[in-house]
């Protein structure tokens, strides 16, 4: 089954490539906002089709392996995990694109106040994505559980950002369009962290054959 093993490795490589493209998209989109670099934002938007193409390629390859190799047990769980986490990664790419679109709009406007919460959220979200993908490669460790726990930090920052923006909007209703866009961006990052959580949950399924989605505090077993 050496050929099948190679095919599985190639699939794993593709998922990791997709992950790395998505990580770059997230970091560049936030950088384009913080550094007010609209050219970089346009670059992120332009590159999204590459993420979409790889998403399709991984989907097709997974279906081909299921049809031709009829995988079972860990191989089956690996391929279904690859398929599902690819969908999450592609959605993260779309969210990074959304951040870049808002960045282009916000870069035209005066800076309300320096970006503090959003870069913090971006760092955590990226670490979560990387952690979830490392877990996908390494397999059964405590890593995916740590990723899931960090989602709370991002949620807390989303609320903090919203409250900060709300204060500003109350003080000066003229800035509402800008503040709402900044709220959107925090929400996009919060969604990215949710997708990273999905990936971590799927990795746990891949390792243990147990679906832990929709469980409040999954136990590390």
């Amino acid at each position: 089954m050496a050929i099948f093993d190679e095919e599985l490795s190639a699939l794993r490589e593709k998922v990791l490539n997709l992950g790395s493209m998505v990580e770059t998209a997230i970091s560049d989109s936030v950088k384009s906002l913080v550094e007010r670099d609209s050219d970089l934002a346009k670059e992120v938007i332009k590159r999204d089709h590459l993420i979409n193409a790889l998403d399709v390629e991984i989907g097709e390859e997974s279906i081909r392996l299921i049809a031709l190799r009829q995988p079972m047990a860990r191989n089956l769980r690996f391929i279904t995990t690859a398929m599902k986490i690819t969908t999450d990664l592609e959605r993260m790419g779309d969210l990074a694109e959304n951040i870049a679109e808002r960045a282009i709009e916000l870069n035209e406007e005066p800076l309300l106040k320096p970006y503090v919460n959003i870069p913090k959220m971006a760092v955590i979200a990226q670490e979560m994505v990387r952690g979830a993908l490392d877990a996908f490669v390494i397999g059964c460790t405590k890593l995916p559980y740590g990723v899931i726990r960090r989602d709370d930090e991002v949620d807390a920052l989303t609320v903090k950002n919203f409250n900060d923006m709300l204060d500003l909007m109350i003080q000066d209703p003229k800035i509402i369009p800008i503040a709402v866009k900044r709220t959107y961006i925090a929400k996009y990052l919060e969604r990215i962290a949710d997708h990273a959580t999905n990936i971590a949950e799927m990795v746990i399924y891949m390792c243990k054959g147990k679906i832990i989605r929709h469980i409040e505090s999954p136990e590390e077993t």
Partner: protein, 252 residues
Amino acid sequence: MSKVIVENLNLFYGDFHCLKNNTLSIKERKITALIGPSGCGKSTLLRCLNRMNDLIEGVRITGRALIDGKDIYSRDINLIQLRKEVGMVFQKPNPFPLSVYDNVAYGPRVHGLYKTSKDAMEAVVAKSLSAVGLWEELKDRLDVSALNLALEQQQRLCIARLLAVEPSILLMDEPCSSLDPFATLNIEELFLNLKEKYTIVIVTHNMQQAARVSDYTGFFLLGELIEFGNTKTLFVNPQNKLTEDYITGRFG
């Protein structure tokens, strides 16, 4: 409910220890698949369940095999009755060189059933052929030789031949291995219908077949039952590494 219970069963061919302390329980009106590489003992275990191994010279068996709570290796067991109760289908269809009708009527005749009523015998033949989906296509050709039927029809006929003596357990040793994929799917569908009435144990090399038709699966390796459990669990998330390695094709 358990129909068959195998307890600490060991089988030796001379000095060769073929089945090693097998313990398992086969549920009534369910399909249980036995899988494992060639020579792992799965067919030998199957043959223990109607004492077919008794005929092989040098075989020694220890442990117990209970059907409906009765040890089939106890002295007072009637072997003819046991093999009526526990029918067996083989890899290659093996109809007798007789007509379709006589193939099905053969078992009841041997057991001295329906001697006085031609109608009753005809009804049994019709019922058995209907149960395997052959009645409609063969009802007007019951006198043709069974050897002229297509392979799938022959295998169905062999199953009908068992049903005519009203068994409760059907043992199937690689029953589809000489059939094409379409005939295989037809026979598998037949198994799913038959399990409403019968307890089925099937030995197969075809893991997809075990996954498709069985409720429970046992994995054998070198005479040992490595893992036994719910088919859905065993093929998605096996608990034993050896099972995992076998079903993912690491060895075989």
